[in-house]
């Protein structure tokens, strides 16, 4: 549709807007038109953290997500969507705010809009900070992100062994269901295990550190796990050993804890 712009100018009895005599079709004399102020839409400049390059189509998707979810105080896009290529399972979106919103409805709305899977996490700043202090996977998740607004975190690791016991349960599933899990599920559980290991050793948690330690501790490339091309005997042996060690450390911590 053709849009004409003009300026309101002062008239004697009424003010007016002048448009050129030679104008496109659809603007004939007598045609009803709508006039509305031209307000520049607020430009959102996403904040990129630890991201060197992102495909332009992904940037467009992120901009659209930000404009769709403009009710939130801040929006953080994280997870596999930010990795190179298009192998992601879903788009992880953290919505920061105090409003009570149905995350399932947002997931459904965005899925319909983009034809992609979404995983929405709703948090207030307090819960996000607590998550970062106590949850290794939160640290992993927020080691790389695109946000609507700049985020400033100041936190120290707080080891809550009971919570780590809960986190470790997520990785237990792999040992019992190895033959029936997809590569991506196996990778998620392995990533969780390694993130707990790094957290307990007070080491920085990010994708690079996780993949390095998967290779170092479990003798397997991350890509092979994702593609379900793992040497089951070697991998499971190392995985079980590490799981057992971490479980013992956690139980000892619970015993000696507050």
């Amino acid at each position: 549709m053709v849009i004409l712009t003009g300026k309101i100018s002062k008239g004697t009895l009424m003010d007016q807007i002048y448009i050129p005599k030679e104008r496109p079709l659809g603007f004939e004399l007598g045609t009803p038109v709508v006039i509305k102020p031209v307000v520049e839409e607020e430009e959102i400049k996403p904040v990129y953290y630890n991201i060197d390059k992102l495909e332009s189509v992904k940037v467009m998707v992120i901009q659209k997500i930000f404009s769709e979810l403009n009710f939130a105080d801040n929006i953080i896009i994280t997870g596999s969507f930010l990795e190179k290529g298009f192998q992601f399972n879903d788009i992880d979106v953290i919505l920061i705010g105090d409003k009570k919103i149905d995350s399932n409805k947002i997931e459904t709305h965005l899925s319909k809009l983009f034809g992609l899977e979404f995983h929405i996490i709703l948090l207030d700043y307090n819960a996000l900070l607590k998550g970062l202090e106590t949850d290794p996977l939160y640290q992993a998740m927020l080691s790389r992100y695109v946000a609507k607004k700049r985020l400033i975190f100041r936190f120290k690791n707080k080891i809550n062994y009971k919570l780590l016991d809960l986190h470790l349960l997520k990785s237990k599933i792999l040992m019992e269901n190895f033959d029936y899990l997809t590569g991506n599920k196996k990778y998620d559980m392995t990533r969780n295990l390694i993130a707990i290991y790094l957290f307990l050793n007070n080491k920085k948690i990010n994708n690079e550190a996780i993949d390095f330690n998967i290779k170092n501790l479990l003798k397997e490339e991350s890509m092979n796990i994702k593609q379900n091309l793992v040497d089951k005997t070697i991998f499971l042996k190392e995985y079980k050993n590490l799981y057992k060690k971490l479980f013992e450390i956690i139980l000892k911590g619970i015993k000696n804890g507050p």
Partner: protein, 112 residues
């Protein structure tokens, strides 16, 4: 990979026990903000268990092994809890194993 009934039941028991364990351990965490936030995390095991359940016939009714399944689940979850209690983990309520199992198994139509 095709699974026989026995294997499916074993996998179902393993995952639903894990979900029960998660639910009971959540209650032992002494932090309301965190407890509220992690409330949904047990769903991982529960969802996997649900997928196995959908392959165990009859899908819409009680399987013939239902009472054996329930006993094994309670035993497995209780054993995991007892390991923790023996290592000094406090605030674990062992009595929750059976009602939690009943709730999940009823939801998945393993018991009535």
């Amino acid at each position: 990979m095709a699974l026989n009934r026995k294997k499916l039941i074993d996998l179902f028991i393993g995952n639903i026990s894990n979900a029960i364990l998660h639910r009971i351990l959540e209650k032992a965490v002494e932090d309301d903000v965190i407890r509220k936030y992690y409330d949904k995390e047990f769903l991982n095991s529960f969802d996997i268990a649900k997928k196995y359940r959908e392959k165990i016939n009859p899908v819409d009714g009680k399987p013939q092994e239902s009472s054996e399944i329930k006993d094994r689940i309670i035993k497995k979850a209780s054993n995991e809890l007892k390991i923790r209690i023996s290592k000094g983990y406090k605030n674990i309520d062992l009595r929750l194993a059976e009602p939690t199992a009943d709730k999940f198994l009823s939801e998945l139509k393993v018991i009535e």
